[in-house]
């Protein structure tokens, strides 16, 4: 017991002939979350797709060698490294561009994935959203729909910043349930 592969993961060492299937399975399983992380890091849809492609290209090249029992972790690590490399290469110029891009188009304004799980998750989030206490709904709406900062929300509502942060934290803890089966 405990020595066998994780049943949720593809085989540890795929034969060359099995690699396309393995890659397809990995992509189906992890691409949405990888895109999510990359969107958070890069805030640029084209860059996200470039890094995602690089990550899976590396996975294809390494499929016969990877001995890790956790493909997911491997993919996230490679994607993270590639994203940070891209960010560092871009340097100050990228930082300036990013600041402008952030203002023009907030991160995750649209669904970062390929849409396979989108409807299901949005529906579940919608259901959970209306179950939140009104004061938590208010903070979520202002932060995520109106793009007010936490400080702006606190000032407008006449609340301590800590209260606004607590409401947001409580709300997101409940809303995260919508992602649990993704």
């Amino acid at each position: 017991m405990g020595n066998g592969p994780d049943p949720g993961e593809p085989p540890l060492k795929a034969a060359v002939s099995e690699q396309p299937e393995l890659l397809a399975e990995l992509f189906r399983e992890h691409a949405d979350r990888l895109r999510g992380m990359l969107c958070g890091l890069l805030r640029d849809r084209n860059a996200v797709e470039d890094v995602l492609q690089t990550t899976f290209t590396k996975a294809l090249a390494s499929a016969g060698d990877i001995r890790s029992q956790n493909w997911k972790s491997w993919l996230f690590q490679v994607a993270y490294n590639e994203a940070m490399l891209l960010k560092r290469k871009a340097g100050v110029q990228q930082r300036v561009f990013q600041k402008v891009a952030e203002r023009a188009s907030p991160v995750a304004e649209t669904w970062p994935g390929d849409g396979l799980a989108r409807e299901e998750i949005v529906e579940r989030v919608s259901e959970l959203l209306v179950q939140l206490p009104p004061e938590q709904q208010e903070v979520v709406r202002r932060r995520m729909h109106d793009d007010q900062t936490f400080a702006e929300i606190a000032a407008e509502l006449g609340l301590p910043l800590g209260t606004v942060l607590t409401r947001m934290r409580l709300a997101t803890e409940k809303l995260r349930k919508a992602l649990q089966r993704l």
Binding site: R33, P112, V122, P134, M168, T172
Partner: protein, 156 residues
Amino acid sequence: MTNDLHFRALAYSLGELTDAEATAFESLMERDQVAREALAEAVLLTAAVREVRQPARIISRTPATREARSSRWAVGAAGLAAAVVVAALAIPARTPVHAEAPAIVEAWNELGADQALFAELDSDIDRDDPSSDVPDWMVAAVLEAAEPAPHREGTL
């Protein structure tokens, strides 16, 4: 704490961290798979919330407490009664208004004093029959009519 980590990931994705905090979080992600997944979740969650149609005015769909429902009924009943009074006053009277007014006042007082009626309404509410609930649109309309100018346009 995992919850702290997820909230920090959310704050990072929303651009709410200082440069130093953002750099620290990026360093954490370099070695921590949970942190990387937390950022992925934060972005997906934000995207999902933004895809949910923004209601003009959120009225909680959570089960109302008896007190809250009674309050809604009271507001609804008062609004309805006020509408009846206004309508009655607006209709050209066959009898002089001053002769009819005492009857309206008397009816109003009877309505207010009729505890049996309210007890019956309460018992209906207690049965949790959805059909006995005041529709949200009616409550919203009465509240809007009764409230002074809203604090801010589009406030939930």
